[in-house]
Subunit: 166 residues, 2 copies
Amino acid sequence: MAGPHTLAETERAVESRLSDMNLDFEAMAVTSNLFRAANAVRNRLEGTVLKPHDLTWTAFVVLWVTWIWEEVETRIIAEEGGFSKATLSGVLATLERRGLVVRERSADDGRLVIVRLSPAGRRLMRRLFPLFNQQEQAVVAAIPAADRPGTAEALRRMTVTASEPR
Amino acid sequence: MAGPHTLAETERAVESRLSDMNLDFEAMAVTSNLFRAANAVRNRLEGTVLKPHDLTWTAFVVLWVTWIWEEVETRIIAEEGGFSKATLSGVLATLERRGLVVRERSADDGRLVIVRLSPAGRRLMRRLFPLFNQQEQAVVAAIPAADRPGTAEALRRMTVTASEPR
DNA sequence: GGCCAATAATTTGGGCCCGAATGATCACGC
DNA sequence: GCGTGATCATTCGGGCCCAAATTATTGGCC
C-alpha cells in the first residue's frame, strides 16, 4: 500500500465512477477492506517471520495445522488450510524434502496418509510461532481493544455465510 | 470450510495446545478469522461470478482497477492490487490476448506503460460487477447492520498498521 | 472369492506468484 | 552533448495453485 492513491481517495473514485449502478457501497467497503487487510497482514507476517526461514505462507499453514493436531490426515490439512489436496501434495513434498514433516500411510485405511511434524519441525514451530504471534499482536493493536471481539465475530460470521452452499 | 472440525473446536484445540506459551489469543483469533474470512469470501466470489467467465481473481482485480481509473500505469495496478509487477506482466499478457485490455507506451515517459479496458473489457465489467456486488452484499449481510462500519474501520486500521515500515 | 462404485492421494498441464536479473528510458550534472 | 545513477516493465526460474485424469484401496454385494 502507501501508493499514490490513499484508501479514502480510492473509495471516493469508486463511488463517483459507479454512482449510477445501484450498488451496495457498504458491502463493497467491507469486503475490499477485508482483502486489503488480509493481504497487508500476510505480507507483513511473511516478511518478518517466514522469509528469514525460507518458508512460504502455505507451508507455514501446513506446519501450523499439523503442529496443532499432532497427527492429521492430508485431506484435513487441505480443508483446514483452505487449499486443494493437489496443492498440498506439492507442499508436503517440499516440507518432507526439507525434513520438517513425515508422511506415513494409515494402518487402518490404506488410502489415507497421516502427516506428523519431525522433531526439527516441532523445534521450528516452537521457535517461530511466538514471533508470529508478536506480529499478529502488533497488527491487532491498531483496533481499539473494545472492538476486537466484535471484529473477530464479524469475520467469523462472514466466513460461515460465505461457506454456505448457494 | 465445513470440515470435520468446527471453528470453535479448532480454537479450543489451539488454546489447549499452546497454553504454556504466553501468547495473545485475542490477536490470534482476529487474524486467523481474517484469513479464513478472506479465503471463504474469495472462494465464493470466484465460484459464483468469476469462474463462469474463466477469470482468475487477480485478473478480475486488474480489470477492476483499470475500470475505476479509466487509464492507469502498470505499477499503479500492482500497488493497488497488492501483487508484484512481475505477476502483473503475466496477467496483462493473458488479458491482452483475450482482448479485454490494451497496453500502450506512455508518450510523456517512454518507460511507463498505460493500461485501458477495451470496449469488450468495459462491457464485461459493466455486466459482472453488479453480480459481484450482489455476492458481497450476501456475505456482509451476516454482520449486524450496526456493526458494519466498525468492521470496515477495524480492517482499515489493520491494513494501515500492517503496511507500516518496521 | 470376484466385481464395482466410492473415496484417497498423487500426477499432469496451465496459470499465478515472487525475487533477481535484464534491457530500455529518463533526469541530472557537467 | 555525454555519462551515470535512478526508475520503469519485462523475462526467467522455481514454487504455489487448481481442475481433471490417474492410480490405489476400501466396503459392500453377490
